[in-house]
Amino acid sequence: MLGKCFFIICALSVGCGIVTGNIGELAGAAIDGAGRGVTLSLSMLGMMCLWCGVMEVMREAGAIRILSRVLRPVLSRIFPHAFHNGVGDEEITASVAANMLGIANAATPFALAAMEKMDAENTDPDTATDDMVTLAVLGSSSISLMPTTIITLRRAAGSAAPFSIIVPVWITSFICAASGMLLCRLASAAKKGKAKKTKKNTDRKNEEKDCATAHTLSGRKARAKDDPVLGGVSASAAKVSGGGRSAGI
């Protein structure tokens, strides 16, 4: 991915250099750029070490757990299915909390664990559930409380007030994350109409699974097996009603 990026950048530079007549300056710029890459990394090093150390202490002291407790009521509305069934809810809160604290290397494993748990419970494994998509969208819109790297780089570039962007960052990321969640809801509601037919089928599958596991209902299952006419009728009824709905919408 980065190799391609670098090639495109180089090709653009050489092309433009020839057009604008600046081609003679490219060699010098390349050498300066390599040097700047080093100075940049060095100027980031101090803050990165300090911040990662601070975050490790916070993690050890249970910051993720404390923040999770605060976030739970909000997240249970965003991920209704996961929280209602207790599938991956702890992992989701921990991942969002770690993301907010800026501990990215803790946030991703938590999120992946949540995705795996939700996937294991997914009755239609080819299609991602709404909660899975929502978690991916939430993870891809940053919600960090302290943008450390940016503050460090601002300081390195000689900013008079490197921290001044914190509150604007909070406002922007909050609005973005909130509208992301809203859009996810709208998209899932819009697609639900289309997917009604397949959903009916998965519901039926669910029911059958429930019946198979719950031995109290084994009698009912046996009756359904003995009575193929009834099963066939209800299946075709589901198909008709599903088709009717999607056509209506």
Binding site: M1, G17, M58, A128, M132, A136, S140, L153, T172, S173
Partner: protein
């Protein structure tokens, strides 16, 4: 507001110091985390050098100026400074490329200039969208990502627009 922003870090460090007096393992945790941070920085150093070299050439060749000029008719009505477009394009794809592009931008325009501030807010409120969605879905058996990419892309555009608007509100710029 300015006082509040500059108090966050000292307050946090005070809290960490307090935790260190309470718990013996906190100091070790700090050292462990700091080492981890050093490893991360060192591991992205080669990428930084490669990208900064490329971006430096791009700026020297005049391509960055040409791109900004070409796209400014689309951006200026929306209040988006055209200088941040290269950054906005790399942000969803690669984290280190975006960091390098951001560092290059604030060096050229100034960290406290209008494009510099917008770039800072954009960097802080967006993430490596393509990477996150790909990795997250990699952990599942799902065959597609459904509406994840369209929604995330819309949010990215909203974020670009919002960062300009919020910076304008906050720092009273007329640029």
């Amino acid at each position: 507001m300015k006082l509040f922003s500059s108090l966050i870090i000292p307050a946090l460090l005070l809290l960490i110091g307090f935790v260190m007096t309470k718990r013996k393992d906190a100091y070790d945790a700090f050292l462990r985390g700091a080492k981890e941070g050093m490893k991360t920085t060192v591991s992205i150093l080669p990428v930084m050098i490669l990208l900064m070299t490329g971006l430096s050439m791009l700026t020297a060749s005049g391509a960055a100026d040409l791109l900004s000029k070409a796209l400014s008719p689309i951006c200026s009505p929306l209040g988006i400074p055209s200088d941040i477009l290269p950054l906005a394009l790399t942000r969803p794809v690669s984290g280190s490329a975006a960091s390098a592009s951001y560092a290059d931008l604030i060096e050229r325009c100034g960290a406290d200039s209008f494009p510099g501030l917008v770039a800072s807010v954009l960097m802080g409120s967006s993430d490596t969208m393509v990477y996150v969605i790909t990795v997250y879905f990699g952990a599942t058996r799902a065959k597609g990502t459904r509406y994840a990419f369209p929604v995330a892309a819309l949010i990215g555009i909203l974020c670009l627009f919002l960062s300009s608007a919020v910076v304008r509100l906050f720092f009273t710029y007329n640029a």
